[in-house]
């Protein structure tokens, strides 16, 4: 670690992982409610569980991105963070607001929460992923402002590397597009149209810039490959991500009201969306192959490669599977969407956060060459357990989706099976999904325990020798 202020990333990473555990637990509850409708339903109805599951995901990823930025921007800028105390303060504000919101979801009925938080003054609640009370949304904006200000000032006074510039455009975009969450017109079509300006422009737009920047940073560090090469790749990847992804938003406009030309625009541009993800895979393998030195933190390299591959599979392949309008006509809003969502979020965003944690956390804990061998071995097991079980979950949901479409969507009205009858038929597949979810949780537990595996005596000795 080059700068003391990079350490403010630590609480962000730790809290992100705590929330991650919560996300998975609520996912398992929902998985069980899919097959056994009575499970916990009086205490945590499905809609509450889902809200907690998705909101925890968004919040822990934001914590991860913030931690990643606080860690890498000072190092890239070659200067201390503009204001470490502001970073610490916004951590506590954000953490408190996040916990309070989640408790609000769990402890009072949602309609009551809306009343308590005066939702009627500026109604923004009750839309998918944007369920947060308006006051929380304002809090998120304030925290983002403080964060972008802090990062921006650091970049301004220091070195303006490509990684910094791509990251900061991503972060500014993240903050700016979140403002659309305050726009909630009475007209549902307009509401949906601009709702996607938050959701799509986040996950298939500016978040990809953050993903690219963090991946490039870790790859430079673990491979020692020439910055010039990596920066050129980074520019091309994020350029393609924006060029395909911005108008690619059209694939969400097929069936919610906007005109017919979106069927063409959305199909063509979103068919290009796998390209930047594939280039990320090419880039990651190329850079690792041409590495200049062997970094002791081998598992961080594995995470980086894994992120590229799983993001390509989840966002690229599973996205392409149902993005063309004639196909999407049948798949829209089916379990196939859920399959794509799970693998894309895990592969691209959950994994990039774990990549930077895997690289940065050992350094912040005084292990510049990575964790001890035993810890890395356990982390490697966790990596495979999580990746494979998530692939399994995705496959199960893909089968469920295909089946659902065959029973419920393809036949003409009258012959088609109803929604609930179809879901009953899918129960065996949902059981498989739930079991694989448990495997995922075990992988996560292994991952967390790897933080507590210490060094052997000989490793301690050699570390001390190196320190002397």
């Amino acid at each position: 670690m080059k700068f003391e202020s990079q350490k403010v990333a630590k609480p962000y990473f730790i809290f992100a992982l705590v929330l991650f555990v919560g996300q998975i637990l609520f996912g398992l509850i929902m998985g069980l409610q899919y097959v056994s409708g009575d499970f916990l339903t009086t205490y945590i109805p499905f809609n509450v569980a889902r809200m907690v599951h998705t909101n925890l995901l968004i919040v822990w990823l934001l914590f991860g991105f913030m931690g990643a930025s606080y860690y890498l921007v000072p190092e890239e800028s070659d200067t201390e963070l503009h204001s470490p105390w502001l970073a610490k303060l916004s951590f506590w504000v954000f953490a408190a607001a996040g916990v309070a919101t989640i408790l609000g979801y769990l402890l009072v009925p949602y309609a009551r929460l809306a009343e308590i938080t005066y939702n009627d003054l500026l109604p923004t609640m009750g839309r998918e992923f944007l369920e947060q009370p308006t006051i929380t949304k304002i809090g998120i904006v304030v925290v983002c402002l403080a964060f972008v200000y802090n990062i921006g000032m650091t970049v301004l006074k220091g070195r303006k590397t490509v990684i910094n510039m791509v990251l900061i455009t991503g972060l500014i975009g993240l903050s700016v597009f979140f403002l659309f969450s305050f726009y909630n017109p009475i007209n549902l079509v307009l509401d949906k149209y601009f709702w996607w300006w938050v959701v799509h422009l986040w996950v298939e737009g500016v978040w990809e810039l953050i993903l690219g920047a963090v991946l490039a940073f870790v790859l430079i560090k673990v491979t020692g490959v020439d910055r010039e090469i990596i920066e050129k790749w980074l520019y091309v990847i994020v350029a393609l991500a924006l060029i395909s992804g911005l108008v690619g938003m059209g694939h969400h406009y097929f069936w919610i009201g906007p005109g017919e030309y979106w069927l063409w625009l959305g199909s063509i541009f979103s068919a290009l969306e796998p390209v930047p993800f594939f280039m990320m895979v090419v880039f990651a393998f190329k850079v690792v192959k041409e590495r200049r030195h062997e970094h002791g933190n081998a598992i961080a390299t594995t995470w980086a490669l894994g992120t590229a591959v799983m993001a390509f599979l989840g966002a690229g392949v599973w996205g392409f599977l149902h993005t063309l309008a004639p196909v999407n006509y049948y798949t829209h809003g089916s379990q196939l969407t859920a399959a794509h969502g799970h693998l894309a979020f895990f592969g691209a965003y959950a994994m990039i956060v774990m990549t930077i944690i895997s690289y940065a956390m050992p350094i912040m804990r005084g292990r510049p060459q990575g964790n001890p061998i035993a810890a890395q071995r356990l982390e490697r097991f966790a990596f495979w357990a999580m990746c494979l079980s998530m692939l399994g979950v995705t496959l199960a949901l893909t089968v469920a989706g295909a089946w659902q479409i065959a029973l419920q969507r393809l036949p003409e009205s009258g012959e088609a099976l109803g929604f609930m009858a179809t879901q009953d038929k899918l129960a065996p597949v949902f059981w498989v999904r739930e079991i694989l979810g448990v495997v995922f949780l075990l992988g996560l537990v292994a991952y967390l325990s790897s933080f507590f595996v210490g060094a052997t005596e000989s490793e301690v000795d050699s570390l001390e020798a190196a320190a002397v």
Partner: protein, 148 residues
Amino acid sequence: MADRFTKGMARNVYYGGGVFVFLLLVGLTFDTMLELPKRDHRENITQSVANGKHLWEKNNCVGCHSLMGEGAYFAPELANVFDRRGGGDEQVFKGFLGAWMAMQPMSVPDRRKMPQFNLTDKEVEELADFLIWTSRINDNDWPPNIEG
């Protein structure tokens, strides 16, 4: 990557391409905003439809159901529930919705449970109006059949 493709060129593609495509998106959005009034029949949004949308949001209906294919996939699609359960008759649909909301949660073991939201008759009427209005948006003929 060949050397004749320099980092400077890559940077220009990123900033130039990004800005260009974003402007394209803004232009398309502008055009869509002009076209939408013909498709979303906004002239039929009454106070009751507006109240219905707030009820939809305040009770987090999208946490289980989908509306025009967006939302959770735990419970049936509701953008066409008027066609499915009302058969084109608004009074029939309102009667159905009121009875349906009143009997939740159903005591069928293991069936997915819908909570009891304790809506008043007026609220049920408003929610119904919102769903009826939604079912009449021009959405390029989605879903493929009445089951949604």
